[in-house]
Symmetry: C2
Subunit: 336 residues, 2 copies
């Protein structure tokens, strides 16, 4: 029962969404120094949508990914630096630059059913750049455990050292996490990770369910500084894993200090579960649909939450936002 | 799998701590009307420390318990009204007045090892006043499952219709909740309830563990409006229980509206897990010790969190606050 769990702190990546990608080099250095002192094994540093994400579509970064990664690396003798890359958003050139700036690990992220588009990036990172490589299967609630496994096997076959079940919408229940992680652990040779969001108040509960099911990598963000309802709150997760006799190697009091003294003042407002986050987790829909649903709801006089629930049932994915008006129109007819 | 779960909303009682017991009749009416419309089965209305709690020691209420209970009852054709009573704080006379003002249910609360002091109050409420009666065993993490059961059996023998496992410090893990609730359910004839706090980020996770283990009464507070890190967030709990196919009868969209439109504006600040709450849950210590530990820590130059951890190991209970200085002095010596 004294199994080691490797923690990846994502406040400097998922948390980038919270401040609209306005991290400065100075802030990244301050946070990194604190996390390094708390002995956090990995610190992810990137635009919220991964390296190369700075754009009109995803929002421009204040300081560039590469500068931030370099600054983190230079101030992090203990913690390794990770970055995120979404194929189609970031390029192989971006990855090479990130590696040269000091990134030790890259997490290649795709929709849960699209692992095949990660092949080139995983191979390049592993074979050409000599990086540690994680496959990051997002919106994991949208695939059955069997499909998730099949996709994870693809990532493993490309060379991933770890494959993550990523609950991007915070839509999974502990029993569903357990089922998925157990299947991955039983059928993969590589390590298995879990990334939570707190839309249903289950970020910590799901993460410990994942660990009990055999996951050895888990993500957290100090003060829950991540998109929407945030992630598993790192300092809370460290305390809970310690109570359960897992070893993270993280200094609890120091990570608490980082959370309260450095991260909390960065937040425009405390990260909580508001109705917008809750309905996205409940419906299991990606956050990009929220504004569309609100507009369509106004136009057709339908509760936008009902629209999101319908979209969740259909299982829409990013890019299908044009369906929202049709759904709203149908619901409006049904109301009459 | 379509088991019925009875929800008790505690924002008008546990949430009273958050606003230092300054609920007005008008606010209680507004909240009650919303909860009633959302079809919440029970609404608990009391001073944070129970009826009769208004005092120098616990803080004075703005409007009296009795007025607030009456106002809630008059505006609640559907939801039943509950009140909390701690023997030693509230009296039989207080309870009689609460009953006359319209309270349908009383929850008699004691420390987990002191069920015997609830005998008179439970019997009076049940036999003289004809109320529904709940036995509320607080700080449940401080007793073994076997001791908890023994104490619960006492409350059942006095006439309790429901006995609660109350995680006052938010210190239990899901596995510990499961073990306790399963034992209670297997050995009691009365119903079993669970009350969570979110100090370890497990309020929702623990509550669903309790339900899966057979609990049929659960507490929530809209927007987590409860002491410290708050309770299981009601609107989130309703969504999660619905996803798991349990029946609460609560209208999800309406309870979401109450949380966002009525409760959120009452909060002086959003309820989150800060370091003070986290360390209390991690140490398993009652919140009254926090200020004492901070003072002693300053005096002896010891981290107050280390003091709280020591107090947790010893298993201090309310009334033993005089031990804090000694512990701090010992830790200070050890540091040298």
């Amino acid at each position: 029962m004294s199994q080691e769990i490797t923690l990846v702190e994502v406040a400097l990546r998922d948390g980038s969404h919270v401040i609209r990608h306005q991290y400065t080099k100075e802030k990244v250095i301050e946070v990194t120094k604190g996390l390094n002192e708390a002995k956090v094994p990995y610190i992810e540093v990137s635009h919220g949508d991964g390296i190369g994400g700075s754009s009109i579509q995803y929002g421009f970064s204040k300081d560039s990914d590469i500068e931030l990664i370099r600054a983190a690396k230079e101030n992090s003798p203990f913690s390794k630096i990770a970055c995120l890359l979404l194929p189609g958003v970031g390029t192989l050139d971006d990855l090479k630059e990130a590696r040269e700036a000091g990134a030790d690990m890259v997490r290649i992220a795709t929709h849960v059913t699209e692992a095949d588009i990660s092949a080139e990036h995983i191979k390049f990172a592993k074979n050409e750049l000599g990086m540690e490589v994680v496959g990051f299967l997002m919106m994991a609630h949208m695939a059955s455990p069997e499909v998730l496994l099949e996709q994870a096997k693809l990532m493993e076959s490309y060379g991933a050292d770890v494959v993550y079940c990523t609950d991007s919408a915070g839509a999974l229940l502990p029993s569903e996490v357990k089922e998925r992680i157990e299947l991955l652990v039983a059928n993969l040779n590589c390590k298995v990770g879990f990334h939570a969001h707190n839309n249903l108040g289950l970020a910590i509960g799901n993460t410990i369910a994942a660990v009990e099911a055999g996951a050895s990598f888990v993500d957290g963000s100090a003060r829950s500084m991540g998109a929407g309802a945030g992630n598993a709150q790192t300092e809370v997760l460290v305390a809970v894993l310690d109570k359960m006799n897992y070893q993270t190697g993280v200094d609890l009091f120091k990570i608490m200090d980082v959370a309260q003294d450095i991260i909390a003042p960065l937040l425009p407002e405390p990260v909580i579960i508001d109705n917008d986050s809750l309905i996205l987790g409940y419906a299991g829909v990606y956050s990009s649909f929220r504004l569309f649903a609100q507009r369509a709801g106004k136009k057709y006089n339908v509760d936008s939450r009902s629209i999101l629930m319908e979209l969740g049932k259909i299982g829409v994915v990013g890019g299908q936002e044009d369906m929202v008006m049709d759904i709203a129109a149908q619901l409006s007819k049904r109301q009459e």
